[in-house]
Amino acid sequence: MKRKDVAALALPEGVNPHAVRPYGDALDDGLVQVSFTLPVPLCPESVEAARRLGGQMGLKEPTVYHQADLGHGFSFYILYGKLQHAVDFGRIVVPRVSETHVSFDEINARVQSVLGRRIRVVGACTGSDAHTVGIDAIMNMKGYDGEYGLERYPQFDARNLGSQVPNEVLLRQIVELDADAVLVSQVVTQRDVHLDNLAELADMIEAQGIRERIVLVCGGPRITHEVALELGYDAGFGAGTRPSQVASFLADEVIRRKA
């Protein structure tokens, strides 16, 4: 979306798009809540410590509304305060997947008429990740939230390799099946290992000399389109993505590359 598009958004009356701050019950009150644990036992000083941390976060009038001793030297706080920071909303540009989101039937009809063959897609949850909830939502027959997954699309030949697939195995499958598109899911990871894992796959596909003819897509709750582009992917989809969004993007991209 371009800057002028943001400016065209209908903002509530009185909002200054160049200084947007949180809203509680009055414009620009900046009210936010924050909760955290401190590694100190509960005492009057610890409550004051929590309040001061609120101040350092940029909260005016930070107020500790709840405090609890968790034992073993830990204590928990819930604070409210008025955030003094603001953002210039008009200057924010977020890259997004340029797909024209259309329906199941429209996607299949378009692939059939324009491409004239099925799109071959390989999907996997790679590395050590065993959480297939994301890739299953997009690929499984039954799909997600009332929408069919790619396996149900007659114009897609979709193979879900499942969980904990090493990048080497995925690459082998991509070559063997002559895949048009690859979907990689990363859900539960620690210390950003998913980023290394995704980057490695992109490098391997590059080294194989097939990057140009493959639509490479990643997804997961910690994936954004921007992160995906940085990692050398064609698109990234976050939590809540529907199968038809991915299918639309794949159809557009595969058709564009084969055209």
């Binding site: 968790l70 034992g71 050590s128 065993a130 909830v133």
Partner: protein, 523 residues
Amino acid sequence: MTSKLDLDPGRIACCRESADAVARAVLAFASERTTVSIERATLRLIGVEGGDDAGVPWVNRVVDGARSLLPGGIALPFARAMRVGGLDPTQTARAVAEGGLELGGEGVADSETQALAHALAERAMARISGTVADREARLEALGEGPRPLLYVIVASGNIFEDVVQAKVCVRAGAQVVAVIRSTAQSLLDYIPEGTTTEGYGGTYATQGNFRVMRAALDEASEEAGRYVRLCNYASGLCMPEMAALGAVERLDVMLNDALYGILFRDINMQRTLTDQAFSRLVSAAGGILINTGEDNYLTTADAVDAAHTVLASQFINEAIALRCGLQPWQLGLGHAMQMNPLNEDTFLLEVAQAQMAREIFPDCPLKYMPPTKHMTGDIFRGHVQDAMFSLASVMTGQGIHLLGMMTEAMHTPHIHDRVLALDATRMVMGSARHLADEISFVPGGRIRTRAQEVLAEACDLLETVRRDGIFAALGQGRFADVVRTAEGGRGLDGVFVKSPDYRNPVEDLLRGRVAWRGAAEGA
């Protein structure tokens, strides 16, 4: 307990009969085989500990170097090596691994070797019995609080950080603490050594880590005046060894499912079903309460359509477990609350299924899992979903309640996530403690009808599985919508058909200790 659902006892009996036939077939298959992990578990039980400088366990070094001997079992060749070398089990394993002692050769079947192997097995039994007695004494002295037992998970990756988190949980009311394993540990064909401070998505299950957490929970139990159970996983490629470590290190609860590894970790079915039988035998003797994994089916399959697959699997898990000598009180059969909460009346369906499980398995503790599939990152909504789950649990008399976390699907829980969950759950359950005694369900109403339908479907599915066999059923994707084949998946190269002279005195004594029926005819 009088039925609140008017379930047909004939149909339940029919399910049990089919499941038992499936279990017999599975155990007949398993009893003809052994695996690298069963042999390693045997060595661990007779006292082999530790590993080489590279962290490879001695049991792996020994078993990997003796693959040709495995059809006959490792126990006698190892006992002979002990006799020849005059060393203790760990020293013997080290000497064998480093080439100083050989396995096999003359004298494997002589009476002195047999006697030593038997004595080692007796010692293993004594160790397990001692652990059981220790647990019983502590439970006797401290009690463990009301059911459902409140079960929380720690998973920081660092066992010493896990200890801090676990102690805070105990103070807040936790009754079971599970240490989630590092991602993908189930696919390792060895158990890492020592205490560990790095893991991904969890903390490695090692003998060293088991000891650290057990000691911490014992201390916290004393402080809290209530015995806190420790939980880990007897699953994956090292399932039998994990059960063995659990039995000697006093783990109280272990996840152990007949089909989970096959479906969700793509572990070869021949491997897992063989490992399963041995691990359940060990758990039976060790007084370990197993948790089965049906709750996970509904994360991949639709929770409304696939409810009967959960019930069918519970029947199969029960049948295999009982034949392996586990008592009903040791069966934490799994089920879960995974229906889309935005759909109308899903809470009624949840209550129907939870009550159904309760009535069909009256003597099993039942482990009830919280919503995970429909947790969204909206922590406020999530906290409410978890509260509804707590209500369903207490009003249907569940035995073990895995606490939902509002931050599910976001990150491994933060220290206060668990405390908030424990506080909320205790409030809900305390305020509705005797609700179950006060309610009945309307004849012909939605709840009764739902339970009866699910039971009927489970009955049909079990008949199909009985007819086709479990291998074919898995090949047809009848569980969790996942398709697996008998030759596919990981770990098949670790399965060996036993030769007629196979000997495992540890297994023999374990069978003698528990009500093992294996694949024998009759129920």
